[in-house]
Symmetry: none
Subunit: 153 residues, 2 copies
């Protein structure tokens, strides 16, 4: 297992921990709070982390604070989407996802939302989606990722 990946995970976990246990008003404050907990990073990195974690800055009576955005149906959605997929396959240049009739649009939107997928974009018809990878070299990997995210084989 990658040391780096562990670190990122640790940092993300710490961020979630901090923003849910205390009022964090801005990113420099977060930098300091993390430092106290033994994790050093910079405002720039945290800005990216917050985006990845889907954290929002909400107005409250005490000021703008960071909060984890409401999740919950995410896992559920995943299941439903997975059930609509027939197959995921690729050739040398694109990935093709087959779905049950009329389901392609919804699945395509879901795939688009997974911003940890290295895709340029998707086009969905009625029962077929074309996924354009960032690079043709990533096709295999991306197919794997899609399958992993959706928990299918």
């Amino acid at each position: 297992m990658s040391k780096k990946l562990e670190d990122i995970h640790k940092r993300h976990a710490m961020i979630k921990d901090l923003i849910s246990s205390q009022e964090i008003f801005n990113q420099t404050q977060l930098v300091k709070a993390m430092k106290q907990k033994g994790i050093k990073s910079t405002q720039a990195t945290l800005s990216r982390d917050l985006t990845e974690l889907g954290v929002v800055r909400v107005p409250t009576s005490t000021g703008l604070i960071y909060k984890l955005s409401a999740t919950g149906d995410e896992t559920n959605l995943k299941y439903r989407v997975a059930e609509e997929i027939i197959s995921v396959a690729g050739n040398e240049s694109v990935i093709v996802v087959k779905t049950y009739p009329g389901r392609a649009q919804g699945v395509a939107v879901f795939i688009d939302k997974q911003n940890d997928l290295d895709t340029l974009g998707t086009i969905g018809g009625d029962d077929t989606i074309i996924v354009i990878p960032k690079s043709v070299k990533k096709i295999k990997k991306t197919i794997e990722q899609i399958k992993i995210i959706l928990g299918i084989k």
Copy 2:
């Protein structure tokens, strides 16, 4: 009635409308969108409005966009209800709440739910609500409480 209050309400309504009907990425874009709809304002004012409306900026696959924060959130409901109220006043026997057209029912339900209010009940029409206090002696106090709960003056 105040011209100004109407304008603010209109602007707030427009903001909610715009951010829920299209992707608004930043405040200058919002300024332009509002202008097209005939409401002129500045980035500074909109910044304040967004805070008042409890709007959040959430990360999505297409970038950071503004969204009304999760419904069901109590604080939020409060904001929205408060937005619909024009005035709260009383005479020697009842309290009258004036709202924007068609909003009275919703506001009345909200007031009913506040069980720390010393009221016997409410009757709501289209834009007016009559609130019956437990005792006429509590009218002043109850008006105050309503205003405090909703954070209005």
